[in-house]
Homo-oligomer: 466 residues x 2
């Protein structure tokens, strides 16, 4: 008698008529007048629960089965049978039901078999994976993450774990979290009365990384194709539904490559991810369509069917100015594009994903490659209908003299970046990469309106549960 | 004319006689008297470089090709030809060689074509991936990481990203790194003059996680099979070759499972990883055997061929006491096993991997399941020849009353663990899991003696480069 997952039992992987055991948690129980109970059992292996049919001949039918409530843990053994009713293809005709874990006080159990508000569920983050919605989001998130690793692996990239605790700030900006073991009640001081960080754990000030890009460039210039996929941190006090203090970032970096190669990689990568979700998690996506975003599947299918458009930043500015559209923020060469501009470009003007390329140098980071016009850099943003910017990337400045001039312009100390300068002194090559916030991707695929619903444990002021 | 990786060119994936372009960095250059230069080019895609044969008829032969030194970046185009000499099966007969990046001052370039000391290479962490050894370690590390994700995915597990920044300490022990945005020069104080953490970023004290286990248990009790694979942190001032402040941890958790299931999972998991390395990275493993640990391949093969032994802790104590062996640390029921004891058990006594099970409750964590004897818990350590402990795991205490008693015994505040107690109130089931330090795995596979060589960027007091 085989123990199988609900997914295996429902998918036809087990021959009908087999004796099987399934294990999971009760979603609902319904008693018929004919002396049968129908127990829907979920083990999280797929969206659908399996129906377990419990006859009143079971020895614990009256004492236990008829008292099962949502959330109870059960081991059910019986015959896998083609289902007579609507819905599932198979059900289990139970010969034995063992109740492993009851629910204390079912009336107050937070996860009742009905839709809950997302806000309420953030407060019971440890129980929300038991809901249909967060089961689906968790499996979709997993599917996307696997697709990320698989795409890179199959295309010859190597995964690099860049440091989480760092003493440099890749972007030269953004508030960072300090990491320290100093006793705050009794801070060590130097002769000038300043905090003495030489006595901190790493012997100097340390922070949580905001990006692995600079570090991964060193591996790119040795292994040609590399990527990071790890947590990054921003201590911005923007408690909005679009920002997280802690999020996972994906940053591929390719050698002997320019901005066009970078855009090609971004297109192939995103399409691989979306194709994989539609191939592997249609069960969960159908629920997303039903409950969260009716357009969720259609927009991924459209995305897959559309070659990316490419527009120069300068051209985008002209298009926006000529659009006749009233925007809240000004449109002018030299200013960054706002979400309203990005969404007009991708949704209204082009109607499919757009790569905007070659931004003014003064609004972009020091490491982006200066174009021959001297006033733009080889930077790109990938914009998608329904979300706006989803990827930001650039070709990196590989010429030491130009890099040094850019660093001087940004007021950066070359001594702090000696190792980064070394990469330009020793066998430098054109290289490029991009960054993609993993949770933004989950938000897009699942049609979520709050990014805290894209992470396993919501954490933000007012919502940190643990 | 196709651009191909060195791996593709050498592996026979490209038809001999094809015109190809390869791109990479020079390892060595040798000039023959016959007017040819042999340039070994590596792009990191595999262990071996490819030999590019450059005739003196190339227009830049005298001015450039004959000045190529180790580390120069080159794009070479030519005919893929079966190699006449020893070694590689194929070489490139070049019709064009473009030098993309020179090496400033080749005499002082840190990565010369010769073995360097590992200590020296830790000081040039941004350049060490260009060496044979760190190229190999990086690819092996990547291969292991992919195998981790693939094993779990194919066995129905879902990847869960548990919080990195946390306000609880899973093990109730271990020095943690504080995470804060408070201005240390000007700390906010409350009425009693204490540091006012309510004004810190998360409104309370926050730290870097030491384990995702407690959090992932909540997902286990909804999705049945889950795992974490993410960074964890220990602020221990043990600047040894065996410890890292920042390391990646793998923590699977399975529902409806006991300690035996946990041991079975550990065995299947480790064997999958080692089989994958031998299948996919034999090129790098052969170099490891040659240069680092002559036993590296043989011990993985032995590992794969050996069913794990299982020994009760109490039996292990008796065996150690009767061994007649002089140990530095005492052997006594109730004391933890030291590395010398573990290595005697696995290497001398059994000669293959051993799972030691059921440890005294007073030396193990509060969440481990109390056995019926009342004095041991369902904990296990997996010991392997050549390294000692490689995995630690346990069945978790799923009974609320027993958990509460254990927490009281450990002096833990139940209010702080209310969410964790909830998991025992609502559909609790037996569940188990284990933890595996990813870098320890890399150390074992690559036969390294210093764990800082198992991470992309060594970071430890005295060795932090950035």
């Amino acid at each position: 008698m085989a123990v199988v997952s609900v997914q295996q039992a429902l998918s036809g992987a087990v021959a009908p008529g087999s004796e099987i055991t399934v294990r999971g948690w009760v979603r609902t129980r319904r008693d018929s007048k004919a002396g049968l109970s129908f127990v829907n059992l979920s083990d999280g292996s797929c969206f659908d629960p399996i129906q377990v049919v419990a006859p009143n001949t079971l020895p614990n039918y009256e004492d236990e089965v008829r008292h099962l409530t949502s959330g109870c843990a059960v081991i059910a053994t019986g015959t896998l049978t083609p289902s007579q009713g609507q819905g599932q293809a198979f059900e289990v005709q139970a010969s034995r039901i063992e109740v492993v874990g009851w629910v204390d006080d079912p009336e107050t159990y937070p996860i009742q078999p009905k839709p809950h508000s997302l806000e309420f569920l953030r407060e019971v983050a440890h129980l929300r994976p038991r809901t249909n919605l967060f089961g689906a989001i968790t499996r979709i998130r997993h599917c996307l993450a696997q697709a990320v690793h698989r795409f890179f692996h199959e295309n010859g990239f190597f995964w690099i774990n860049t440091p989480i605790i760092t003493t440099s700030d890749a972007e030269g900006a953004g508030q960072m979290f300090r990491v320290s073991t100093l006793d705050l009640a009794n801070l060590p001081r130097d002769d000038e009365g300043e905090v003495d960080f030489s006595r901190d754990f790493f012997g100097k000030e340390a922070f949580l990384t905001v990006s692995g890009q600079l570090n991964v460039e060193a591996y790119c210039l040795a292994l040609s194709k590399v990527y990071t996929f790890g947590p990054t941190f921003r201590a911005e006090n923007s408690n909005t539904a679009r920002h997280l203090a802690e999020f996972w970032m994906i940053e591929p970096e390719i050698a002997f490559a320019d901005l066009n190669d970078d855009a090609n990689l971004a297109e192939a990568f995103l399409k691989h991810l979306f194709r994989t979700v539609l191939d592997e998690r249609m069960d969960d996506m159908k629920f997303i369509v039903e409950r969260v975003e009716k357009n969720a599947i259609a927009r991924l299918e459209n995305f897959l069917a559309s070659p990316f458009e490419r527009i120069d930043y300068s051209e985008a500015i002209t298009l926006l100015q000529k659009s006749g559209k009233k925007f809240e923020f000004p449109v002018e060469w030299g200013l960054d594009l706002q979400t309203e501009h990005e969404r007009w470009l991708t949704e209204e003007h082009v109607g499919r994903p757009v790569v905007v390329m070659n931004y003014p140098e003064q609004i972009k980071a020091f490491y982006m490659r200066l174009n021959d016009d001297g006033r733009t850099v080889a930077a790109m943003d990938v914009l998608a209908p329904g979300i706006g910017e989803i990827i930001g990337g650039s070709q990196r400045e590989e010429r030491l003299d130009v890099l040094d001039a850019r660093m001087a312009q940004f007021g950066l100390d070359p001594a702090q970046y000696q190792w980064y300068r070394d990469l330009r002194r020793y066998g430098t090559v054109p290289h490029a990469g991009f960054g993609l916030g993993f949770e933004r991707l989950v938000v897009y695929v699942c049609g979520l309106s709050n990014i805290r619903d894209a992470i396993p444990y919501p954490r933000a002021p007012g919502h940190a549960t643990f």
